[in-house]
Every structure is written in C-alpha cells, then in structure tokens.
Amino acid sequence: MNVWGEQLMNALVIGSFYSLIALGYSMVYGIIQLLNFAHGDVYMVGAFVGYGVLSAMSGAPLFVGLGAAFLFASLATGLLGLGVERIAYRPLLQSSRLVMLITAIGVSLVLENGVMLALGPSFRVMPVELPRSGLSLFGADVTYAQLAIIATSVGLMLLLDAFVRRTLYGKAMRAIAVNPTATALMGIPVHRVIALTFFIGSFLAGSAGVLAGVYYGKINFMMGFIVGLKAFTASVLGGIGSLPGAMLGGYLLGFLETFGAAALGGEWKDVFAFVILILILTLKPTGLLGRTGTERV
C-alpha cells in the first residue's frame, strides 16, 4: 500500500473538479468582469440532472447510463447558464458592479432553494455504483473510475483550449475580454459571444457536477456552495481570466487541500482553501499565470 500515491490520486480527482468549475469562473470574469456566485450551484444542478437521468435509465448498462447522464446533464446546465445570463445578467450589463454581484447572490439562492423545494433538503444517493476494480501504480491502488474522471476532465480542458485558441468564436471571446467596445464596433455579436461563454462555462461545471456526484455517490442542494468558493479560489490562484491558470489553480488547490488535510486533520480541509485565497491575494494578487500589473478599476 502506498498511502501517498493514493492521496495523489485523490488530489488529481478533486483537482479535476475544481479545474472544470474554475474555468467557468475565469471565462465569465474574463469577458464581463462578473464574479458569478451562482456558478457553484450550476455544478450542483448538473449533479441533480445526472441523478435524474441515471434514475430513469436504471435498467440500462452502466456505461450507457453514465454516458447519457454526462451528456444530458452537461447540455442541460449549459442551457441553464444561457437562461441565467439572458434573464438575470444581460439586462444589467450596463449597471454598477455592486448591482451585478447582488444579482448573482440572488441567482445562487434561487438555484439552491429551487432544487431544495423541488427535491427536498436531504442527501440523495446516486443510483449507480462505480466499479471498484483498478490497477496498482507504484504500489498505489488506483481505480479505473478515477482514471476515467481525470481523463474526461483533461479531455474537456484540451477541447476548450483548442476552441478558444483555434476557432473564430474563441477569437471573439478573447477580443471581448480585451476591449468589448472595439469588438462590438468590428461587427462581432458581443451578446451572442457572452451567451456562448456562459454556455461553455456552465457545461463544464455541469459535467464536473455529474462526475463528482457519481464519484462521491451522494448529492445535496448545498453541495455547490463550498465547491464553488474553492473553485473561485483556484481561479484566483492561477490568475483570474487565464484559462491555463484556472486549470493549474484547480489541480494545485486539489493537492494543497488533500495534503493539507492529511497533515492537519480533515475538519480543517475547508478552512485551508480560504487561507490560501487570502494569502494569494496578499502576496501575488495576479495569480500564478495572470497578467502582471495591477488592474484598473
């Protein structure tokens, strides 16, 4: 048994979840400078949609069910992101920051408590169990499920990276992040690109939600609250607005938290992330891969 190796795998799995969510934070922040507090709750909704699909398909083979749950939940949360952007944020794009932030808190409360009202406050147990089989890597027991989660997450991140770098829409996103007015003047449909950004960010958070729901086996309407905060920490750690930064930050936070909790005791796990957040804001506010220089208000 190699305990450290197993902790490493745990860190990679949890880091994958943080990275996927942090990407959405970073993209939305990069493009409209909004801290989307409701992003963690999109992750939660993803887990619940996955739960619904898996419950409906309980007779189907495991992989078919998982695949359908993953696709359906990611698409559904992507659409949820579109809806939230259209209804809650778009009419306020010209308002002050405070108005946007307070709206985001409102959206978060509505999502959490909407799910609570619809499905009840208790934990739900996912109707599937992942196979426990796996292999031994350097003496550490690694399950295939863990490898699949990490591979899926990394795959999604590579796709996103290619999309932002190679496609016309990706270029439009980067252009809006630099200067929205000039972008609009060049004839680029700014609102459509912002909507697309919300779709992609929410898609990734929703996919993280299904993966996490299946991996941990239990879901609850508040599961996105702390995870969302930590994913935000991850995106600040990597440098908010930077996509490679969000990925790096997510994995780094996964490692720091896993090994920090192993050293200090599990009950301090949640405190750890916030201490890192405050430290990074004090010592290197641009994050590891962020742009240097202070940002203009």
Binding site: I32, Q33, L35, F37, A88, P91, L92, L93, Q94, S95, S96, R97, L98, V99, M100, L101, I102, T103, I105, G106, V107, S108, L109, V110, E112, N113, G114, M116, L117, I176, A177, V178, N179, P180, T181, A184, V190, F225, I226, L229, F232, T233, V236, E267, W268, D270, V271, A273, F274, V275, L277, I278, L281, T282, P285, T294, E295, R296, V297
Partner: protein, 325 residues
C-alpha cells in the same frame, strides 16, 4: 421654503410619535411580540453597520455574520471562562472585530473591490468552521450559560430590559450613523462609491477610506455580537452562517442602499415578513433570492430611496466604453 420646513416638521413629528410608540410598546405587547421587536432592533443595528460598507462605500461584504460571531464569541468566552464583567468584554470584542476587519480587508481592498465579496464570503466560512472545531469555542454545541449583564448597577434580566436596551442601542447607532454620513468621512465614502477615480483625483485615498468603512462595519457587527451573546445566553456556530450574512444584506438592500430610514425599514421587513408568512417557511430563501434579483432589475435604489439617484450607471466598462478592464 415654507413647504420644506413644513415637511421637516411633519417628519420630526412622525419620528417623535414613532419613538414614543416604541417606548410605550412593552406596556401593551405580549412577550412574543416584545421578542420579535427586540430581534428587529437587533437587525436594525446590524443592517446599519453593514450599510456603512455596502451603502456608503459601495463594497460588497458577504461575511458580515463573521464579525457578529467574533463579538459574540469574545463576550461568551471572556464571561464564562475568565469571568470578566460584561462591560469590559465590549472593548475587547470591538478591538478584535476591528483587527480582523483590517486583516481581511487590507489585502482584498488593495485590489479590485469586488474581490472583497468573495474574500469576506470565505472569511465567514473560516470563522464558522473554526468556531465549530475549536474546544475553546465549545465546538458544535457552542457556548452556553453566558451570565446576564449588569449595566451601571442595573441587572438586565427580563425581556423588557432587553427590549429597552436594544431600542436605545438602535437609536444611538442610528444617530451615530447619521452624524457619520454627513461628516467629511461619510462624504468621502459616497464620493468613492460614485466615482473612485474622481475621488482619488480630489486627494481622497480610496484604499484608506474603503478600509475604514470596512472596519467601522466590522466594529458595529462585533458590538452587536456582544449584546447578542448576553441576550441569548447561549451561542452556537450555526447562528453565524452565510444565510445570516445574506439576511442582513437583504435588509440593507430592501429599504434603500445607503439611506438610513430605508435600512431601518429593511431590517423590520426581514424580521416581520417571515412572521407574516409562517406557512411558507421553506420558501423563504427562494423568495429572498428572487427578491434580490427583482430589486436589482427594477428598483436598485430600494423601497425607500433618497431623493436623488444613488446607484451609479457609469461604474462599469463592460460594454459602454473604456478598455474593458
């Protein structure tokens, strides 16, 4: 001119009548309603404190309950473990709240001010989890048996005592806030809120004033916490969660950001509304969330706004010019 002086006199008369009614209220009210109003005064104080941060300075604090917790736990621990008299715990609680305000506020406020929102949110969780994990703070069950205080030789015991204590404290806080609002500092805060660059150009240091606003808010929250501890005689970590912070924020936003009578109205609303709709108790936070969104869309200036427009429309550079950063 006569019209304004008439209005001023009418509003003075209304205020005096309202205060008289509140002072006489315990003679007619049942203990239940006395308790509800005591809670309302309590939220008035908290909302007035948070209003300094959110309303005057235009910063978002999502962990206000943390300062309230720091005050409550300071008094709780000092009176039960070290047997310090209540009044001596008050300055200690204020100092601790101020200190944590600086520690949290300084790194966040040096950067973009919207980082403050998430840092305070994280801080609120740190305080709650720490209180739950330490034996000094009584772990999950909290601290109980906090002695009733003696203030100037008068032991506060009955519900009526606390009603009057909180009524007086709420009035004092209100008057202090009104003085503060119209002081040099208060004007500087509003200037920063409306246009930070212009304020800086006029020689106001935005960082120092924002930090001051944050610390003043923290101290008021801490002081409210000390009173909370002796009123309840028992405190537990779950009283100081995120929802508590949201509730206080809602009070500030409902009535009218930055406008003191509006904030008082908001505090009464958040205490009285749940009383009025008990059968919808589980809908409470859903409705609060929807209310926040609706307020921001249709009435960002609150239910009882000031005469002139308060919310700046020019603070963002997302789509209306600027270089977008």
């Amino acid at each position: 001119m006569t019209a304004t002086s008439f209005r001023a006199r009418a509003s003075q008369g209304a205020t005096a009548g309202l205060l008289l009614a509140l002072f006489l209220f315990p003679r007619v009210a049942s203990n239940y309603w006395l308790d509800v109003f005591t809670s309302a005064f309590f939220y008035v104080i908290l909302a007035l404190g948070l209003n300094v941060v959110v309303g005057f300075a235009g910063l978002l604090d999502l962990g206000y309950a943390a300062f309230f917790a720091i005050g409550a736990y300071t008094t709780g621990i000092l009176t039960t473990v070290y047997h310090v008299p209540f009044l001596l715990t008050v300055p200690a609680a204020a100092a601790l709240a101020a200190l944590s305000g600086v520690v949290i506020g300084a790194p966040a406020l040096r950067l973009r001010s919207d980082y403050l929102a998430i840092v305070t949110l994280g801080f609120g969780e740190i305080i709650r989890i720490t209180a739950k994990n330490l034996t000094l703070t009584g772990s999950a069950s909290g601290i109980y048996g906090i002695p009733r205080p003696t203030v100037f030789g008068h032991a506060l015991k009955t519900q009526q005592d606390f009603y009057y204590l909180l009524l007086i404290l709420a009035i004092v806080t209100y008057l202090a806030m009104r003085r503060l609002e119209h002081s040099r500092v208060g004007r500087a805060w509003k200037y920063i809120r409306e246009d930070e660059d212009a304020a800086a150009a006029m020689g106001i240091d935005p960082f120092r004033y924002k930090l001051l606003a944050f610390v003043v808010g923290a101290v008021v929250g801490g002081l409210a916490g000390t009173v909370f501890a002796v009123r309840m005689t028992a405190i537990a970590p779950e009283s100081f969660g995120f929802m508590q912070s949201v509730l206080i924020l809602l009070a500030v936003i409902l009535g009218g950001l930055g406008r003191l009578p509006g904030v008082v109205l908001g505090a009464f609303l958040i205490v009285l509304l749940p009383e009025a709709m008990r059968e919808f108790a589980s809908w409470r936070y859903f409705l609060f969330g929807a209310l926040l969104i609706a307020m921001m869309h249709f009435r960002p200036e609150g239910l009882w706004p000031a005469g002139r427009r308060k919310m700046p429309q020019s603070g963002r550079a997302a789509l209306n010019g600027g270089d977008g950063r």
